[in-house]
Subunit: 327 residues, 2 copies
């Protein structure tokens, strides 16, 4: 079992460590936080033997060569470059980097060093996600459109309204609805339909100029994909993909547990998929496979890298169309 | 019971006559079609005592003063003006007229003659439709958006693909997805949220340039309403209206039988509404009330007129934004 270190002690790092331990994917051996107390608490909670708030020392640790970065989005780029220089493979929480430029810099370095940079986008590793891709691929010329969404009222929005701005609501941390939740359904769109010809984001901005919600329009040659994203409302629609008389209806854009085929609006088939108790388990298993460096896993890594970059390219175009800049 | 004449012998006229007879709303006494055989068949099927294909004679009939126009959209304007000149009240199938200009001409004449021109937009008369309006009105400042839709694969689309172009697919008849089905959810939007500041239609056009499907975007000061329309695909989404933590989920934009209130994505209340076997029954009952000329019914008529014109104004703006013209 490969040894893994953790950067960041928020709830996402915690969930990831639990998923790793539940699936016996990695042995978690070290945790870094800028705050020593947080590092120690996190380590003790998850039975991790080593913790530190000394970045220089952390970089020189030599009992692990894979690191998970779960710190705020705007920190991913710098951390990644330094870690690659120290021969570490990287698993970086979504959205991996703030810009395509940063993505390219990091990946160029990784290629030079023969190291991995894997985006931790959990739903991409769900069995249903890839199966839906295979259902759509041979029928692309029949597609008449799709409606996707990820819009949930954030547990941190009430605090935001009182003036406490969490990272996921802060543009200086690379937050906002598009970056925080939109990245999921955009992954679906790019994985399932490829790159759009045009991308537009009708954003509704909060007082701090971060996008609290918005509508993503992806224009393909013969159809449109509409994506609702938001952190200030609850969109409860299923995901739908249209093929003329047939409609594919999916319970959600992630944690996919049910895919219905409707013919002329009547359900004719229902497929069920296994959900893990912790939705990060599938990716933990997936990362182990990638790091095995088999011909098949390397092929899948290249594929996921391509999609990761394409998603970021689309997100950047969307941000530009809505005038969203990270200050 | 007022006496009613019918223009047009298609399925919509047939359904309307059945609704009228089931609800004892009017006595149907005459039917006009350009084709005598169709008029006769229709009359016999529905036990209507008189039929004709002679327009001049039909206009001079004096045993009825209310007429239902169920002929193709592009014929509504001319028929209406001639009928008003002959002192007939008009019930005209949706979408009432091709342009705001035509709407204004017809209604100006109706006002001069002290006659009614009522748009037969059936779902507007459903009890649930007006109740939802009343739920939203006091909470307008909380609205975070809405997703509506009416997109059903047409029974006439397969014939269209073989080259037989039905009126509802023909721009010269005032057809297309927006005019034929889009008018319903646009009625919902205008009735429930008022007039938008901007309206845009992302249309996907068929070979004959009619819009087979499209996405309507209505921009309000603080939220957006997205409407999916189409005649070449089946959108099976419910309708949703967003109020932050709360979501109102409605089974459909018309034939509304269930309205769910969700709090943080969990259903907390479900209201059921009566559906009529024939969905045109509610409007038949509604038209009788309007024609009673009580102070209350006149007020409701003025309200429905205002919405009818606003809907047409929005539809015209949408058509312009998509470059759709009736040739």
């Amino acid at each position: 079992m490969k040894k893994l270190a953790i950067i960041g002690t928020g709830w996402i790092s915690s969930s990831f460590v639990e998923a790793v331990q539940q699936t016996n994917s990695f042995e978690v051996v070290s945790v870094y936080s800028r705050t020593l107390q947080k590092a120690e608490e996190f380590a003790k909670k998850h039975q991790i033997p080593s913790w530190t708030n000394q970045w220089g020392e952390f970089l020189l640790e030599n009992n692990w060569d894979v690191v998970y970065i779960g710190s705020p989005n705007h920190t991913h780029g710098d951390y990644s470059k330094q870690l690659l220089e120290h021969q570490k493979n990287i698993i970086v929480e979504k959205p991996s980097f703030l810009s395509v430029e940063e993505w390219d810099e990091v990946h160029q370095l990784a290629t030079e060093k023969n190291l991995f940079v894997i985006e931790a986008i959990r739903h991409y590793y769900e069995p249903a996600f890839q199966e839906i891709r295979k259902i759509i691929a041979p029928r692309m010329n029949e597609v008449k459109g799709a409606v996707l969404s990820y819009a949930k009222y954030s547990s941190k929005y009430d605090a935001f309204l009182r003036g406490e701005i969490a990272n996921s609501f802060s543009l200086s941390s690379g937050g906002g609805a598009l970056m925080d939740l939109g990245v999921y359904p955009i992954y679906n769109a790019i994985s399932w339909f490829g790159m759009p010809e045009k991308a537009h984001y009708q954003a509704r901005k909060l007082q701090n100029q971060a996008d609290g919600q918005g509508i993503v329009s992806l224009e393909y040659p013969t159809f449109d994909v509409t994506i609702f994203v938001g952190k200030v409302l609850n969109v409860c629609l299923p995901q739908e993909i249209y093929f003329g008389k047939e409609t594919l209806q999916i319970n959600d854009c992630q944690e996919i547990k049910e895919v219905k085929t409707l013919y002329m609006s009547e359900v004719v088939e229902t497929k069920e998929y296994e959900l893990r108790r912790n939705p990060l388990e599938w990716e933990a298993i997936g990362f182990v496979k990638i790091l095995e460096r088999t011909p098949e896993s390397l092929k899948q890594y290249e594929q996921s890298k391509k999609i990761s970059r394409n998603v970021l390219e689309v997100i950047e175009a969307l941000r530009n169309s809505a005038g969203i800049t990270f200050n």
